[in-house]
């Protein structure tokens, strides 16, 4: 077994990183808003939203991919509109893979951010209010910095989880080399072809290393930030 990557393997690795990076950064602001609403507000239908956010955690990824196909396929209600208005096609595209990853890993982000939001002493907000800070002022200068450990931890965990997404991606955007064949799909394809065991092993080791790095980074970042914000 050689340890050098073949160009298609390297391609799969880089694609995975790009898909996950886009997925996490696009979902992050939305995750912060959702977590804020769930942590601090009561509104009609909160329980429903709460459940919907966590649904991807328990739903089979294949079902998720199928639902995405129905919605975002070129003939699906959203997909057709996107194609017509913005000329964006998600099916068979890495952007579709990023969308699938974003939805699947959304609960990781929301949960981590929500937990750190709920850990913030509500009295700090009261103190800031008596000192002249309005709602938006308080959100950016108090809530956001104090929730930073959760935000960073959530983003890194989501990123690591996103690298491993398989079912939703292959169902929604198929397995196209160089476009939608991310790391897990490449491993799967290698195992399907005769003599692909070496490649599967190399790619799996990479996947394990990435997962370990992700989890460790999340831990280190959490500790650093806690120290920085004095918690």
């Amino acid at each position: 077994m050689t340890f050098w990557f073949t160009p298609p393997e390297l391609e799969a690795l880089l694609l995975s990183l790009r898909v996950s990076l886009v997925a996490v950064s696009v979902a992050l602001p939305l995750a912060i808003l959702t977590a804020t609403a769930l942590a601090h507000r009561n509104f009609p239908g909160k329980a429903l939203i709460d459940g919907a956010v966590y649904l991807p955690l328990v739903l089979p990824p294949v079902v998720m991919g199928y639902l995405l196909l129905l919605l975002f396929g070129t003939r699906g209600p959203v997909g057709a509109w996107l194609l017509e208005t913005f000329d964006i096609r998600l099916v068979f595209s890495w952007k579709g893979a990023a969308l699938a990853s974003a939805i699947i890993t959304f609960p990781f982000q929301v949960r981590a951010i929500r937990l750190s939001l709920e850990a913030i002493d509500s009295g700090l907000g009261d103190a800031a209010a008596t000192l002249g800070a309005g709602r938006i002022d308080r959100f950016f200068n108090l809530t956001l910095p104090l929730a930073l450990p959760g935000i960073v931890a959530g983003a890194i965990t989501a990123f690591a989880a996103s690298l491993g997404e398989f079912g939703a991606i292959i169902t929604f955007v198929s397995n196209i080399p160089g476009e939608t064949r991310t790391l897990p799909l490449a491993i799967y394809s290698a195992l399907q072809s005769p003599g692909g065991e070496d490649a599967a092993m190399r790619l799996s080791l990479i996947a394990i290393a990435l997962a370990l790095i992700g989890v460790t980074l999340a831990e280190i970042a959490d500790r650093r930030i806690r120290k920085m914000i004095g918690r």
Binding site: G123, A128, G134, L146
Partner: protein, 361 residues
């Protein structure tokens, strides 16, 4: 600017119904046992809680009028709030905490005012620290400074000493006394500790089960039985406002003068004329029908008996008038009978021990 407060709210089982006024300056204590509704009242004043019915005026400004559906949000009320557990922002240095309200104030205190507050509270060496690195007493001082620098028109203090141990309390009290004597901002000081109130406040409002049970000058309330009746606190003490009349260095004494005479205390390091508040515990006062001669106590005050109260434990609490001040003596009922003490009789109050709280220079 005087502040007028009325609020009424039902908490299912507990009903708050309080109305009172706070003077233009000085410290008003909001005193009462836990659960009397003290914090709810100041939260309503600060705007952190909106009662079902309420009307709060700060001078010409109406900040709450539920009848007119008006409630000014907390950030526009210009009311400083010192929370019980400081509530410092953990991710900001002491300096950024101190300047948080200042940066958002409409009328900003100038640099010399900032320096004065930092100096008054002894914070200069702490400015770069994070709150997590501060002691409990230091946190309280930062919280106080932060509220002051937001240029409030009223300062609310919610038991700022409650979370501190006795040593830390003793460390903070002088700062609060300095604040009282140097600041022109009216303060509403919430406490369930009579000692603190006696030491700091000019006026007091006694809150009991959500209602104002008594209010008035601390000297008047302390020199009466009202507080004892309301609180069931048996450790009575009286408070007298005095001024330093003379420093008698050779004897190691400072002579304090008030309307009813003079009191000698161990030397106080303050100039002649300085205000000194004196507390006298009822247990530390003896009474004599004739002027005692050859006695070790320094302080013997000629007074008139105003009122005698007997309790179930064989005590007689005797309130005597000494000029316009009132002093309470706790003696035994047997002594009161033996001395034939009756209201109107002349007695000599022998004061064994005096607690003097000098105001800041």
């Amino acid at each position: 600017m005087s502040i007028s407060v009325f609020c009424r709210h039902d908490f299912g089982g507990f009903r708050l119904d309080a109305a009172f006024e706070i003077g233009a300056a000085g410290v008003t204590a909001l005193f009462g046992p836990s659960g009397a509704g003290k914090t709810t009242v100041i939260n309503a004043i600060a705007g952190l809680f909106v009662p079902r019915e309420g009307r709060i005026l700060m001078g010409p400004r109406t900040v709450l009028d539920t009848a007119a559906n008006l409630s000014v949000p907390p950030r526009e009320r210009r009311i400083g709030y010192v929370f019980q557990d400081a509530k410092l922002f953990p991710h900001m240095s002491v300096k950024d905490n101190l300047l948080f309200g200042w940066r958002r104030a409409l009328q900003k205190a100038d640099d010399s005012e900032i320096a004065r507050v930092i100096d008054m509270l002894g914070l200069a060496h702490l400015l770069q620290r994070l709150p997590v690195k501060l002691s409990g007493g230091e946190k309280s001082r930062v919280a106080l400074g932060r509220a002051l620098l937001s240029s409030p028109e009223l300062l609310l203090l919610d038991e700022p000493l409650a979370a501190l141990d006795a040593a830390r309390k003793a460390e903070i009290l002088p700062y609060l006394e300095r604040l009282r004597d140097e600041s022109r901002i009216p303060m509403l000081y919430v406490s369930h500790m009579l000692d603190e109130v006696m030491r700091l406040a000019d006026r007091m409002i006694v809150l009991k089960e959500g209602r104002v049970a008594a209010q008035g000058r601390v000297f008047d309330l302390a020199g009466s039985f009202v507080l004892a009746d309301l609180t069931g606190i048996s450790a009575l003490s009286s408070v007298i406002e005095t001024r330093i009349a003379e420093q008698r260095a050779t004897d190691g004494l400072t002579i304090l003068a008030f309307d009813g005479g003079e009191i000698a205390v161990p030397v106080l390091n303050r100039p002649v004329g300085a205000r000194v508040r004196v507390r006298i515990r009822a247990e530390d006062v003896m009474l004599a029908r004739e002027e005692p001669k050859a006695i070790s106590a320094n302080n013997v005050l000629k007074s008139i008996i105003a009122e005698i109260r007997n309790d179930d434990a064989g005590h007689a609490d005797v309130r005597v008038a000494c000029g316009d001040a009132h002093i309470i003596a706790r003696i035994t009922r047997a002594s009161a009978r033996r001395l034939e003490l009756v209201p109107g009789a002349e007695v000599f109050a022998i004061i064994k021990s005096v607690i003097a709280d000098p105001a800041a220079a």
